[in-house]
Symmetry: C2
Subunit: 351 residues, 2 copies
Amino acid sequence: MREVAALAGVSIKTVSRVVRGEAGVSPELTTRVTEAAAMLDYRHNLAASTLRGHGQKTAAIGLVLMDVANPFAAALHRAVEDFAHGRGTLVFAVSSDEDPDRQREVLEALLSRRVDGLIVMPVGADHSILLREHTRGTPVVFVDRAPESAEFDSVTADNREGAIRAVEHLAAQGHSRIAYLGDLHTIQTAAHRYAGYVEGLARSGITLDPNLIHTDLHSPEAATAAAEALLTRPDRPTAVFSAQNLITTALLRTIGKYDPKHAIAIIGFDDLPLADLITPPLTTIAQDPTRIGRTAAELLFTRLDGDTSPPRHRVIPTRLIPRGSGEIPGSTTTSVKTPADRPAASQHHRR
Amino acid sequence: MREVAALAGVSIKTVSRVVRGEAGVSPELTTRVTEAAAMLDYRHNLAASTLRGHGQKTAAIGLVLMDVANPFAAALHRAVEDFAHGRGTLVFAVSSDEDPDRQREVLEALLSRRVDGLIVMPVGADHSILLREHTRGTPVVFVDRAPESAEFDSVTADNREGAIRAVEHLAAQGHSRIAYLGDLHTIQTAAHRYAGYVEGLARSGITLDPNLIHTDLHSPEAATAAAEALLTRPDRPTAVFSAQNLITTALLRTIGKYDPKHAIAIIGFDDLPLADLITPPLTTIAQDPTRIGRTAAELLFTRLDGDTSPPRHRVIPTRLIPRGSGEIPGSTTTSVKTPADRPAASQHHRR
DNA sequence: CTGTTAGCGCATTCAA
DNA sequence: TTGAATGCGCTAACAG
């Protein structure tokens, strides 16, 4: 900057003004400075600028996801990026892998780079780092999962409601043996979806059968094993509610072997890219990651703009997308299969 | 930091040493400093540290993708993140949307934050910013697409070879009317895949038919329109090579209407998440985004470690994954369909 | 093993 | 409208 000033024959401060686009520099000097900067390959150093100026803002935010490559997370990331881009802000997206230790690492890395704010898909129950940082003045928004302590802003999908709808939808098709496959119970969304499953059964007047419930499925292998266990039972379920993306995929890969006629109804939580192209087309409870991300970014930037009102908790509705797999009918009664049910069923699962 | 030093009763430099984990501080002072830091909620400011210290490294790199939400890009991102994480480096991932103007914007944003290096999926032909930055000393690695000027390191998939393999595979199943659907010709990968298509036809002794070729399909709508045009031709193709992900998806969504019996063979470039679950299972030329990303990160960090050898160009092989759709046989001759071909065909497209 | 001094690149006083 | 001084938070080089 000194060199540019020298070459342009002005003071350092004038260069600073031009570079930052401040008003109050004569056009002539402006062009002289611009040219000198170009000539010297000068580039403004935002880090140094931040050190001294404008409220210490780094114009960068941190986004902690379970995995930047997860489709849900990636869509959310994109929405946050777009909003931030409009505000001249860059986003550091990092993966926690649902591992509290790794989350701590990445949070420290983010914080030591003095990000202006944080959007976090929290893992684990220990949010001490975030709490400390929050009281220190860094805005924090939770996404996908709400904190136990409602001190942070949050944006979540309506997991419970979505799960209820899924179960009621299956019950409405005549199913009463509805199985549940879900992720780690420690993950809040999983817990909520399970609660919704239970509630959905209750509302439909169906008695919960523990034999049809598999939780804590956190790997494709575990999901596959659970699906196999379920499908090989003598009294196997007529419908399955799969409460997570990867579990649904594992289920779909497994079910062909045990249910070649597609007699078992399936609803998956969270939409899948090619859900409409598989056989039968997959009925899903779709979340809206783009809207969740945008909403989270909105909340964060509102805080960055100085809003200090009480924490807000936004809940984004889910959407049931009936495509076929969730509309395969079951027998209306639990124990007896009337012949009348057969034709209807076959109509649905025929290609 | 000064406050921490005061509270711990040491000099500011000692605090610096402790915070940075430098050797040569007595255990006693270390704990005193650590406690004081905790008490004051002190956090190290990496930006300021960078300003003064260790070769001006910010421990952040920039990753310019076409879209952080694109599955290929997201997988690549994750690989880069993992490698960078092991080196204490954070990554700014941004989306260019294949738009040169937006790319310029995000590059400026990245560069003004003084990232240590750049991994870029380049768009457009004007790489002046990158060239300037490169000569200024910032390592730049191109991914997915190689620069015309071979001055930068690059990591690309073997697009041409993959396309050749796809076409030869289709030809080997007896197809000779093999259509091509491809993205914008200005995108290097698209051009290479097209070149591979042409070469594949040549090697198989098939005369190229311009009527079966649709390029510059850069939106789902364009892809759908092209697919419809192709499928409603009187002399429609018996096989289609779809050279891009989104185009393949559009094709699959369209083809059901015109080819309910699955008589047309399809190979798609780039693997799809549920490719194995659709009907018929989709044969693809799979890239390895994880390996591409890791390799790019390796090259970048090698440069950051001071390697100044000539530019390297790594080409990552693709893999043909036969799943069914690419193995649907065609008639061995172009004009005559012998009855003998029929049964074989039906075997394949039956569910 | 510890402390002192100087200055990274820039923006903010305040003065001209 | 422009410029000179001062310091942001930190670390390198050099003492002690």
